[in-house]
């Protein structure tokens, strides 16, 4: 998949519109200066949209395109191309390809002429979609034909690649419209350049895992420096090298696995050692064990449980619950934990994260962040702290945490799906991995947590304990959806 930086130009400046509205405009300065800041490699693709042209219907910023073309970039230019003369104007300026929107949807004869005159490889039809309908004329009105008809016509012309934008996601950083690309894959063999909604490098990786997505246009996130091209290209080069993880969670109290709803109403769910062995056999990539006992007596039992679980498996074990000091942390590592999750104590004393990271290495330190609304909460979900969860996760990363276990208390045990907005907010703000926790219900929830939420691992408890979902079936589903698993 090609990562294609995009700049929209208006009155000599690189700009961005939000939701396609000229009233919601951000200015970034002269295009050359903007490009200098992006560190584009020679020969890379660049997507340029002349906004004035798309509004008025005639090429305006031809001089800018001419100057950019001299930079050894492969330009694809769009904006209100409605005649052969417009098309020729852009191609004469040095554009490699032209992006045709309104015309692709509304006038098949014109598209035919373009293909006949310039060749099919120089034409990229743009299909802008809102709620299943193709929009034209700067998104102002709906096309007269259905998306199916329009796509079929493009295929008949031997077109191979289209640019597809979900208008609702463009510039809003809410995530690409993976559902649209999945839908297009079912409808057409056309390759798709995805456009709109990319906010983090996770979004780019997720897009690259869609077999029909051949390119990905990134604008705002790149210009706002939320993504660097170097990182995006490195991740896209091997999007499937690193498997995403499935992690069963054992909440343990008095030597038994328990599970509740919204951190309450605990019920017995079995023997921790039996569960651990079964989960490794089923393909669990890691195990999380959380001590939810409330007493000191319970904690001593938990340490023994950790030891017995650690001795019965050959996958990494992360343990959390009641860790208040470096010596608590050490005791769990000695009992056989590979990593230890810190929660309540770190909020009262953030230095604990730094101390443990220095003593045992960042890879051993997991921040367990329980969230209600957008606030980090403590004491097994009982107390709010007034600390914003995203800020807290960023701080923990800076202090040396190696990963974040992010649990939505609102969703915990409800099977209503992971909190994707929370996941995106955190995974888009930190470099370290995020484990999605709280709310898993359907197979699609796990996919969405990784694809849309940017999680590097998905965690569930009751679904696995109650055998409503087998880990093997979940991993087979994720693999079918293009997500690499072990």
């Amino acid at each position: 998949m090609d990562v294609i930086p995009s700049i929209d130009v208006l009155q000599g400046n690189a700009v961005r519109l939000t939701g396609g509205q000229f009233a919601l405009l951000t200015k970034y300065g002269p295009p050359e200066e903007v490009l200098d800041g992006l560190e584009l490699e020679r020969g890379s693709r660049l997507h340029v949209v002349d906004l004035e042209a798309s509004r008025s219907g005639r090429p305006v910023e031809t001089e800018i395109v001419r100057r950019l073309a001299r930079r050894d970039l492969r330009l694809q230019v769009g904006g209100g191309i409605r005649s052969l003369r417009d098309a020729r104007a852009w191609l004469d300026c040095g554009a490699e390809r032209i992006v045709v929107g309104t015309a692709a949807a509304e006038s098949p004869d014109f598209l035919q002429q373009l293909v006949d005159t310039f060749g099919v490889d120089r034409i990229i039809p743009a299909v802008d979609v809102r709620d299943g309908e193709v929009r034209v004329e700067g998104w102002q009105r709906g096309a007269s034909e259905s998306i199916t008809t329009i796509l079929r016509r493009l295929q008949a012309l031997d077109i191979r690649e289209i640019l597809a934008t979900d208008i609702r996601s463009d510039g809003a950083l809410r995530g690409p419209s993976f559902a649209l690309y999945r839908q297009l894959r079912a409808m057409t063999p056309l390759r798709v350049i995805a456009s709109g909604g990319v906010a983090s490098v996770h979004d780019i990786v997720s897009l690259s895992r869609h077999a029909n997505v051949s390119g990905c246009v990134i604008g705002k996130a790149l210009l706002d420096k939320r993504i660097t091209l170097a990182e995006a290209n490195a991740r896209v080069a091997t999007p499937n090298a690193i498997p995403e993880r499935v992690i069963p969670c054992l909440d343990v109290r008095d030597g038994r696995v328990v599970k509740g709803t919204n951190f309450g109403n605990l019920r017995d769910s079995g023997d921790p050692i039996e569960c651990a062995i079964r989960y490794e056999k089923e393909g669990a990539d890691e195990l999380v064990l959380l001590d939810v006992s409330a007493t000191d007596e319970g904690r001593r039992t938990a340490l023994e449980t950790v030891r017995r679980v650690a001795e019965s498996i050959f996958i990494p074990l992360t343990v959390g619950g009641g860790v208040r000091s470096v010596s608590d942390f050490r005791a769990l590592l000695r009992a056989g934990a590979d990593r230890v999750a810190i929660n309540t104590a770190a909020i009262a004393n953030p230095q604990l994260i730094a101390d443990c990271a220095r003593e045992f290495g960042a890879q051993a330190v997991v921040l367990s962040c329980d969230v209600k609304g957008r606030d980090a909460i403590v004491r097994s979900g009982k107390e709010s702290t007034g600390i914003d969860a995203v800020d807290w996760c960023k701080r923990a990363e800076a202090l040396g945490a190696g990963e974040i276990l992010l649990t939505s208390v609102d969703r915990d045990g409800t099977n209503a799906g992971f909190d994707l907005e929370l996941l995106r907010a955190v995974s888009g703000s930190v470099k370290i991995g995020v484990i999605a926790s709280g709310g898993a219900g359907r197979l699609e929830d796990f996919r969405d947590a990784i694809e849309t939420g940017g999680a590097r691992a998905v965690l569930a408890a009751s679904l696995f304990h109650e055998r409503r979902l087998a880990i093997g079936d979940l991993k087979a589903f994720l693999a079918r959806e293009g997500i690499p698993v072990r």
Partner: protein, 195 residues
């Protein structure tokens, strides 16, 4: 098959010991240089700091014992930092010589991906006695060798790096077979049974 596991304080000896036993090893855990020097099959574990691990090997003379044993035809498996110790040199916190059993240098990961690498990563093996095919193994590392002559397996982490090496009877794996479930145990079993 008897296997001698070096009882290094800079390692997760208990975990490796458990996995080796599971893989069928008749295990002897020792830090006695004389015992190691005459051993036939040796495992060198290691986690944490290359410098600390190498300092300990030198102080205990186990560095010489390992070299002597391999020169007499013993087989050796280095795991994680134990794998890194096999090389000529590591650039972790300055430049420190290793055991020099495998040509190459260990360097910090460069590139845009977060370091340390924590988690599963797909490893591609070329033909060798230790493991066949391509499988995910569990890694925790900030440093690795790359493009070395003795490479028998590669993985990608913002660029390709050496996941395993073999030179005659000396093997090294950058990942943790003891945390890599079935694939890890299979690899250890192959080492234990291999002659």
């Amino acid at each position: 098959m008897q296997v001698t596991l070096i009882d290094s304080p800079v390692a997760n000896v208990a975990n490796i010991a458990r996995a080796l036993r599971e893989a069928g090893a008749d295990l002897r855990v020792t830090a006695d240089a004389a015992v190691i020097a005459s051993a036939q099959k040796i495992v060198l574990p290691g986690v944490g700091s290359f410098v600390a691990a190498m300092t300990w090997l030198r102080a205990t003379r186990i560095d010489d014992a390992v070299r002597l044993a391999t020169s007499r035809g013993a087989s050796l498996l280095g795991v994680c930092v134990g794998h890194q110790l096999l090389f000529d040199v590591s650039h972790e916190l300055g430049t420190t010589p290793g055991l020099g059993l495998i040509r190459g240098e260990v360097r910090k990961f460069e590139g845009p991906l977060p370091v340390p690498q924590i988690g599963w990563n797909r490893v591609r093996f070329s033909k060798n006695p230790l493991f066949e095919g391509s499988e995910a193994f569990y890694f925790v590392n900030s440093y690795a060798a790359a493009n070395v002559d003795s490479e028998i397996a590669q993985a990608d982490y913002g660029g390709s790096f050496t996941a395993a090496v073999q030179k005659e009877k000396v093997f090294g794996v950058q990942f943790h077979p003891e945390k890599s479930s079935g694939a890890g145990l299979r690899l250890l079993r192959n080492f234990v049974q291999w002659t």
